[in-house]
């Protein structure tokens, strides 16, 4: 960003129209990778939207009764079924990991290598916990309650199909995020973003903006979970 003074750019609608009308970059001062991540997330939003719209359509049109989520997703605690207990904890863990990710980004921009690394690692552990609890939830549904993608004892068979497909697709996103979080934690601790060490595959230098890009992905995965939570567990 050699000759670009972001503070001097005009703001508001005028600023926006000037940016769009200008040469070189449309989003002033925005890193290429960050812009790519935003566009990717837009595309991914369409993927999840298609899944959720398909789910709503089928749930609205299916003839057999839809299983009652409060009962299906309840956990037995001291002999009392507590609805949505596990999901509440899972959601709490995932949202918290978004908080730690935000702190990692903050420390990254402050060039606080150690704190940044610890918070990236903490986020990764949060994500891993979430995936672990999801595995527990899946195995309970499959082995204990007999829910299968092709049928279940509670009602419409699409319940299992959509549940496993959408939470599985989301879980895959979380798992990919966790893998990258661990890789990036190592990169931060090793000081790659301070020394400009080149990436093994990409051969490109990077800096702490990479943490923010990863953070964007992570927050997105969290946000998607909020929608899945609402549509599957609260509807």
């Amino acid at each position: 960003m050699s000759d670009l003074n972001l503070d001097k750019l005009p703001g508001g609608f005028k600023g926006m129209s000037e940016d769009i009308g200008s040469d070189q970059t449309t989003f002033k001062g925005v890193n290429w990778g960050k812009a790519m991540m935003w566009i990717f997330l837009l595309s991914d939003t369409f993927v999840f939207s298609c899944f959720l719209v398909a789910y709503m359509k089928v749930r609205a049109s299916v003839v057999e009764p839809w299983p009652y989520p409060s009962e299906v997703f309840a956990l037995e605690m001291f002999g009392v079924p507590v609805p949505l207990l596990l999901i509440a904890i899972m959601t709490f863990v995932l949202i918290t990991s978004s908080g730690t990710m935000a702190l990692a980004v903050k420390y990254g921009y402050e060039k606080n290598r150690k704190m940044c690394g610890w918070f990236v690692l903490l986020t990764a552990i949060g994500g891993l916990t979430f995936v672990g609890m999801q595995a527990f939830e899946w195995s309970k549904l499959i082995f204990h309650d007999g829910v299968r993608p092709w049928g279940n004892p509670f009602g419409a068979e699409q319940f299992g199909a959509f549940f496993f497909m959408i939470t599985g697709f989301h879980g895959t996103h979380v798992s990919i995020g966790v893998i990258f979080l661990f890789i990036f934690a190592r990169k931060v601790f090793r000081g790659d973003f301070d020394t400009g060490r080149r990436g093994y595959f990409t051969t490109m230098k990077s800096d702490y903006v990479a943490i923010e890009i990863l953070g964007l992905y992570w927050h997105f995965v969290d946000l998607v979970w909020v929608f899945i939570f609402a549509f599957f567990y609260l509807w």
Partner: protein
């Protein structure tokens, strides 16, 4: 006329003084361009054969790789169409053509041509090659991901081709892959064939997304100094808008592919209703086949424009260069491209008029569909007005452009027929539909592809393609394509259904049999003519007339690289600086009839250029 120009000039002078005042310089510097915002791009330069030509990160090489792979699949698609025409023209003459193989060919031909040839060629091929060059970047913004994008596409093609060799053969459910029949026993390739098709499509979407992010961000964030969005060549606008469409439409294809894969493998019932087979109920229950159609066409209709918009953009540039005139109504053209792109997301259900939906729904989609005709017609007028009184070079490139306009108008007009519910219902699933979409998104974009290859071949290889062979190629392709598709409109009107293996003794046969033979003969000839083109490509690679720098006297940046053909990094020491749009042809007062984008205003003081 001259008064107008004077007024323009005065206004321009005012603007110049204003902009130079804000730049904080004492004297009026009419060549002022904002300083560079970004540092030089860091590039990985390959050293070995493998990193230079195979796993290469140079967008130009990736573009050529995409093009060659897409053309290979296109040849497969062409051969399939030949075999289909053999059956339709001469039923039962060829014993190896059974009903099953016929349906498999229909399916593979459609999918290959739409997705693996046209989409990959326009966005992967032309996009990769032209975007960095035309916006003045050294490469795509993330070359490594761009490389992966191509190899993902390559694997997708391998998986698709593998389906020819698995037990049961490729899927024969039609390129729309409608459930429930696509995955039910009795449809050819309902075992491995459909599975490989769905996997291949998913891989294609993933690979394309990687490339598409690169195209979009290179255009938005990596333009050179002076290159504002409204100075970009229309080629870039077309590719940009098409890529945005693809990034938003392919998710629907990915989702429907995943869901159908699960229906096939795990016997879920997303798309599968209750089905009784031979008196016994299958394990499916309560799914919605219409849901698949909605998802598929939410991808499928924007897909039409993913193919068409780059063609619109490219043809605008070709027409402008070869008629030595600025493109008529540049801004109108840009807004038309963007408008068509936006509208294309609200028309998908016009593919489903006969699937059963509320008449009000059909009314809505008919209206939006017909509204698209407005910006599209605008574009056609603008192309014609660009040609109007131009200094037209009737070379192969221009011939293909003219061929495009004719076939596109033809296909567009039949589109207006089919967009109306009441007209569509009787015509739906007849040869009229075949004629319509082959004209509008088969032949028309192919005309542009050929024109573009004749136009940019000198840039890629440094040599011209042979003009004489090119003209033969054009006339056989153009007249031949008309001989194929024009009679099909008539076949549609008399009610010949599409996708039928044979007409048997139906009443259509009396009038359709001769016509089917004629169409088949034309198809064989047109297909064979493409081998003239391939021969031309190979021959000209070694023996073509050397082109030198900027052989077409074009303005846009891709012709202004220090080396021809451009090397990795494109621009040598210094990035180009852009002072004008790409269309300053035949400017009054200028020495030459073209002013390249890099020419500073002070160099052409007497020319009466438009302020862009």
């Amino acid at each position: 006329m001259s008064d107008e120009l004077n007024i323009n000039k005065k206004r321009n002078d005012q603007i110049k003084t204003k902009s130079s005042a804000t730049s904080g310089r004492g004297e009026t510097d009419i060549d002022y361009v904002r300083p560079a915002e970004l540092p030089e791009q860091d590039l990985y330069h390959g050293h070995s054969f493998i990193t230079k030509w195979i796993f290469c990160q140079d967008a130009k090489v990736i573009g050529v790789q995409y093009t060659l792979t897409a053309v290979f699949t296109g040849v497969v698609g062409l051969i399939l169409s030949w075999m289909m025409r053999m059956q339709l023209g001469y039923p039962d003459l060829f014993p190896f053509l059974t009903a099953e193989t016929y349906y498999q060919m229909v399916t593979m031909h459609g999918m290959i041509m739409v997705v693996y040839l046209l989409t990959a060629l326009f966005l992967g091929g032309f996009g990769n090659y032209l975007i960095p060059l035309m916006v003045g970047a050294r490469d795509m913004v993330f070359p490594y991901v761009n490389m992966i994008s191509f190899w993902m596409f390559f694997v997708a093609v391998v998986v698709l081709m593998a389906s020819f060799f698995v037990p049961g053969g490729p899927t024969g459910s039609g390129w729309t892959l409608y459930p429930p029949q696509a995955i039910l026993e009795g449809t050819p390739g309902s075992g491995y064939g459909i599975l490989l098709m769905l996997i291949s499509l998913s891989l294609f979407v993933i690979g394309f997304t990687m490339g598409g992010l690169n195209y979009v961000i290179t255009i938005l964030q990596a333009r050179t100094r002076g290159m504002s969005l409204m100075r970009m060549p229309l080629t870039i606008w077309g590719i940009f808008t098409a890529t945005v469409l693809a990034l938003l439409a392919f998710p629907a294809l990915l989702v429907s592919s995943i869901m159908m894969t699960l229906d096939k493998v795990l016997e879920t019932s997303f798309f599968m209703p209750t089905i009784i087979k031979a008196g016994e109920a299958l394990s499916y229950d309560g799914g919605s086949p219409i849901l698949f159609q909605h998802l598929f066409w939410f991808f499928g209709h924007p897909e039409v424009y993913i193919v068409a918009l780059p063609a619109f953009g490219i043809v605008s540039d070709l027409i402008s260069v070869h008629s030595r005139k600025n493109i008529f109504g540049y801004r109108m053209m840009v807004w038309a491209i963007v408008g068509i792109g936006a509208l294309s997301f609200f028309v998908w259900a016009h593919h489903m008029y006969v699937s059963g939906m509320s008449p009000w729904f059909g009314f809505f989609f008919a209206t939006t569909t017909l509204i698209i005709a407005v910006p599209t017609a605008l574009k056609v007028y603008n192309w014609i007005l660009t040609l109007w009184r131009g200094n037209i070079r009737i070379n192969t490139v221009m011939l293909f452009c003219l061929g495009f306009i004719v076939t596109f108008v033809n296909g567009g007009i039949t589109g207006i027929f089919l967009g109306n519910v009441a007209v569509d219902v009787p015509l739906s699933d007849t040869y009229f539909v075949i004629a319509h979409f082959h004209m509008v998104m088969g032949i028309a974009p192919l005309m542009v592809i050929f024109g573009a290859i004749y136009h940019w071949f000198p840039l890629v290889t440094g040599r011209f393609l042979d003009e004489k062979l090119g003209k033969w190629h054009f006339w056989i392709t153009f007249l031949g394509a008309y001989s194929i598709y024009f009679p099909m409109h008539y076949l549609g009107f008399i009610g010949v259904p599409r996708r039928y293996f044979e007409m048997y003794d139906s009443p259509y046969m009396t009038s359709a049999v001769g016509m089917n033979e004629f169409i088949s003969l034309a198809a064989f000839i047109v297909g064979a003519a493409q081998f003239i083109f391939f021969y031309n490509l190979v021959k000209s690679l070694r023996l073509g007339k050397p082109a030198g720098k900027n052989p077409w006297k074009a303005n846009s940046l891709e012709w202004l690289t220090p080396d021809v053909p451009p090397t990795h990094g494109n621009w040598g020491e210094k990035l180009p600086v852009v002072h004008r749009w790409a269309y300053d042809y035949g400017v009054p007062g200028a020495k030459e009839d073209y002013i390249p984008q890099t020419t500073a205003p002070s160099e052409v003081k007497d020319a009466e250029v438009e302020k862009t």
